[in-house]
Amino acid sequence: MNIFALVLKNLFRRKGRFIFTLLGISIGMASFTALLSMGGSMRGEVTRQAQAMGANLMIMPENICVFNQIAIVTGETISESLEYGVFEKVSVLEGITVIPHLTQKAAVKDNPAVIGGILPEETRLFRGWEIADGAYFTSQNEDAVVIGSDFANRNEVSVGDEVTIRQETLPVIGILDPTQSNDDGMMFVPLTVAQRIFQKEGYISYMSAKVDDMAKMDSYIAAIVDTANVQVSTDEQLLGSVLAILGSVNITLQLVAGVALIAAAFGIINTMMTAVYERRREIGILQAIGGKRSTIFKIFVLESGLYGLLGGIIGVAAGLLAAVFAGEFISQIGANDLLKGASPEASVDISLVLMAVSFSLVMSILSGLYPAWKASGLTPMEAISYE
């Protein structure tokens, strides 16, 4: 017999209480881990998508709100627009290659889809697209659709099929090679076709630009701003502001999960305090046969620590599963590809797992300190005389 064996026997003697206390910790840790994991996935996904855009500058409507900035990074539609003439002015500036985007949302095959209006050849060169199947647009106003690889797989669309966008039926002429960007989940039509279908003649959503000399970035931005009333951000600035918002959202969510964890910690304290009162006589017996205060203290701290360790492992596993399934669910219902990175591979971050389990362990040990101190503070006589 050793302390650890005794602690295990103590833990399992009241199975109902053990399970309910464990559930409290597990649920707290699961919500904490799920939110942390989803936050990490979102962060990773936004970074990846921003990098995949391949642009140095984003030219957006003036005073664009941060939600629209997030939408640009994640390939969603934005509520504001620029006149096409602005693109024409910027496109003639020296040292800058610029392409326009008109992003709109529509139901396609009963699923929400983001449709990008593009200048076909300019965009293909800018993005480095390759065709995986079929063909690419042959003119600037061809009534046809080219789709991203994810979109094709998700909606089971093949070359030769027809899709209907806002009551206009167009043939699918090509499928792009995977790009690992949000382009993979979109449909593309020539800009003029998109402007016609969505009644946005003369308008675009935003522009992406590449510069020839990164050292002259400030002068390029100044030249663009002088040309038109637009807001210009470097890709790093845009990513930074989007990540800052995501960070705030994450912290808020984690605070909510933190409340669940605090409740779980009090659950442990409550369980351990009850155990101390119930087992006063047992504490006295252990003292009578030679158990030191430090031994009694260790027994109770180990018990609460084991709650934390087991609850942490179960909670983290459940949280990661929840992050994966919630990610898929959110992605499906919201047409929000932000969370498509929440695959098991993306979510199971070993450092996150270790950090969460350690946190649960430390929290539980801290929760057990007061009950353990109370238990070890009993004198043998007062403990053994307890009825």
Partner: protein
């Protein structure tokens, strides 16, 4: 039997504080030789168990000193006192005080956790089996306390008290909660243990048992009323 293994000098124990005080022991001085069989008798509530708890280091006197095997245990720290209990004294209580969620064998083994006589798990297990054999309960090794009769539980408690090979065995009314048949069985084991060389001190109301004691202490109104 001339070596003194337990000696008390003018021991007093007062319970309570302020105006409500109970003077449980009033200047008790006694000597218990090594290897002796002693009984402490007296009316209920006159301080027998208090004296026993002080001798066993479960409680501290208000005044006076208690020397166990040459050490004044009143001056020991809580930790040292616990170590002393583990290594020098085996305790048997009237109400057995076994741990309910452990088997008979584990109840004996657990005492070895605190002593030095057996450290390895196999060694502990082997010794616990031998002790259960000694008290006639080898077949009950895996029984929980609630599956044992009162007499059997007390025999397990005796085996536990012997687990660390302590020289002193203190028994507080060990048969007070048993029927006459179980009482006989338990006493038989106690006599056997005494004959093996242990110092045995028993608090009892049993006059027949008291007559067999080498030394008889009578506690009355917190004082030693007579010593034979």
């Amino acid at each position: 039997m001339s070596d003194i293994i337990i000696r008390t000098e003018n021991v007093e124990k007062i319970y309570g504080k302020g105006s409500v005080k109970t003077h449980a022991l009033k200047g008790v001085s006694l000597e218990i030789p090594k290897g002796s069989f002693s009984c402490i008798i007296g009316p209920s509530g006159h301080g027998k168990s208090t004296l026993m708890n002080l001798l066993g280091g479960l409680d501290r006197p208000t005044k006076g000193s208690i020397i166990v095997d040459g050490t004044d245990i009143t001056k020991l720290s809580g930790s040292a006192l616990a170590q002393m209990r583990a290594e020098k004294i085996g305790f048997v209580f009237q109400f057995f005080n076994l741990l309910a969620n452990l088997t008979a064998l584990e109840n004996v083994e657990i005492a070895m956790m605190f002593g030095r006589s057996a450290s390895g798990r196999n060694e502990q297990r082997q010794k616990a089996k031998e002790l259960l054999q000694l008290v006639g309960l080898p077949q009950k090794a895996n029984a929980k306390p609630n599956e044992l009769s009162g007499g059997q539980q007390q025999r397990v408690a005796i085996a536990r008290a012997l687990a660390n090979d302590t020289d002193i065995l203190l028994l507080d009314e060990p048969t007070g909660n048993l029927d006459s048949q179980a009482e006989g069985e338990v006493l038989e084991h106690i006599f056997k243990i005494h004959k093996s060389g242990k110092t045995v001190v028993i608090v009892t109301h049993n006059n027949e048992l008291a007559k067999k004691a080498d030394i008889l202490f009578e506690v009355r109104d917190g004082k030693l009323g007579g010593t034979n």
